[in-house]
Amino acid sequence: MNKLFNIVAYKLKNMKKGIFILTLVMVLIAILTKITEISITLKSNTSTTTTSIFSGFELVAAIFLFIGIMASFKENFNHLSVNGITRKLFFKSEIVFIAAASLMLFILMLLLYVFYDFLEINTKFMLYSIYTSASPASFSVLFISLLLMASCVGLLFTVLSYRYGTPVILFLSLSPVLIFTIGPILVYRFHLSDIFIRFFSYYFGYVNNSARPLLASLNFIITSIVSCGISWIVIRRMPVKM
């Protein structure tokens, strides 16, 4: 157990620099936004004030975790395996690390929200705009499950790339292009639009014209568990690339 927490602490420590840069960028954006707002207001001769709207804390955190997990995997896996850490312990530590990092990012985004609010920048959580009826508790669950999903999918992508190399990397890089070009053609050709819409509506918690954040959270968590399950199958007998 001690070893597990030491590994998680090591991984979180490695992430420290990235989190610091992210915070710095977000703070700078807030300050620059405020300065721009004030200068525009001062320059204009009218009595109206200029305001900006900042949204997308959730996406910033999700993308940060997705990329962070992908970028750190290879180095962590090689390093820890050369130090005699088994795949099983490495995978357990990766899960605990993902949970801890998601929680940290959630708290960081809340703090940044407070900071933006303090600077009187009109700030919105994107998830609140979609799930208007969400209580603070269900919003928190939704936000954290979104971050977990981003991390777990990032883990799956990086594990597949590490094990199967160039073909998978190529496929994963081209997949967004394929989805947005071939996807609509397939949907149109096979009259899948109804199924497609119904599936994604349910996935994102839209049932009977109401957005249900806890249903979406559950679907995000299921996606996370499935991604982790596949990752474990791939990692289990994965050779360390020398």
């Binding site: 070893k3 590994i7 005699g84 850490i85 088994t86």
Partner: protein
């Protein structure tokens, strides 16, 4: 090296390793073919073999870096696959530097403490200062030689009961290599444990290793104490016809003819009567080095 830094492992249980019928295939290539050996506790082993013999593959399987196609490896009768307790007892110095490029030397030492509970930080720091390895430097800025020194320090300071080193002296100059051999021996005497050293510099390491394991084309050719191996191998030089007469019925592993003279390398126990017979035939019997013996046993230059 400060001797106070060595943690005696007398209280540690012994570690015997059984490698049973290990085979590894890469496509159609048999990197290892039914390899079975046992590694006894607290000995220095030299794993020798020509390029592509399967040394690194065997070490990678032993340390769970890759999986074998068939066979199993046991430590104290327990399988090593995904066995964290067993893997924590083995410190492996890979040929390639797998430490994070951006990590500082000191942080690499600290990260080794996660696995190796007996890791001696004081010893690591004193070795780093002895070898003039700057602990504040990042891994990526180390030269090939200093990368080897870093990996050697981690292995020696780990105090792991089994230390495996794959080409430990890569990039080290002759003086540092000499220091390393002395240090390894000193460390072993103070704190006996199992060392498995894979190297191509056989001449340099021959005085250090107790037992030689020679791998050839994925199979174990020899596993014998070096002393015994050297006792059995010798060269017989003299007139070609006399050498031929002497070598009749003996295990000749190499033969070389220069004009009327011939030099045969024989591999079998040497007895008193052999000496008398050689004297009568005017043949000079000379001991042979481990490196020469290895070259002749593995087929000379052609590696056939």
């Amino acid at each position: 090296m400060n001797k106070d830094h060595i943690i005696p492992l007398a209280e540690n249980p012994s570690f015997s390793i059984q490698i049973k019928n290990i085979s590894k295939k890469y496509g159609n290539v048999n990197a290892l073919n039914d390899v079975s050996i046992s590694i006894e506790d607290k000995k220095i082993y030299g794993l020798l073999g020509r390029n592509g013999a399967g040394k690194t593959t065997l070490l990678n399987i032993l340390t769970n870096k890759i999986y074998p196609t068939s066979g199993e490896i046991l430590i104290n009768s327990k399988s090593i696959w995904e066995n964290q307790d067993m893997q924590s007892q083995i410190c492996y110095m890979t040929e390639k530097n797998l430490y994070p490029r951006e990590m500082k030397v000191l942080d690499i030492f600290k990260s080794a403490q996660i696995t190796y509970v007996n890791f001696d930080m004081d010893m690591a720091l004193s070795l780093a200062s002895y070898f003039k390895l700057n602990i504040k430097k990042k891994n990526k800025s180390l030269s090939k030689g200093f990368e080897s020194i870093l990996k050697i320090i981690v292995c020696l300071a780990s105090n792991a009961p089994v230390v495996i080193m794959d080409e430990p002296v890569l990039g080290l100059d002759a003086a540092v290599r000499d220091e390393f051999y002395k240090m390894l021996l000193e460390n072993y005497v103070q704190n006996p444990r199992t060392f498995i050293i894979s190297t191509h510099l056989i001449e340099e390491i021959s005085s250090l290793i107790e037992e030689a394991i020679i791998l050839h084309k994925g199979r174990i050719l020899v596993k014998k104490p070096v002393e015994k191996l050297l006792e059995e191998g010798y060269s017989a030089t003299g007139k070609a016809e006399n050498v031929d007469r002497y070598c009749e019925g003996r295990n000749v592993i190499h033969s070389e003819t220069i004009g009327k003279f011939k030099n045969n390398t024989v591999l079998e126990p040497y007895e008193e009567r052999d000496m008398e017979y050689a004297l009568r035939l005017d043949i000079e019997i000379m001991p042979i080095s481990l490196q020469k013996l290895f070259i002749h046993m593995t087929g000379g230059k052609s590696n056939e």
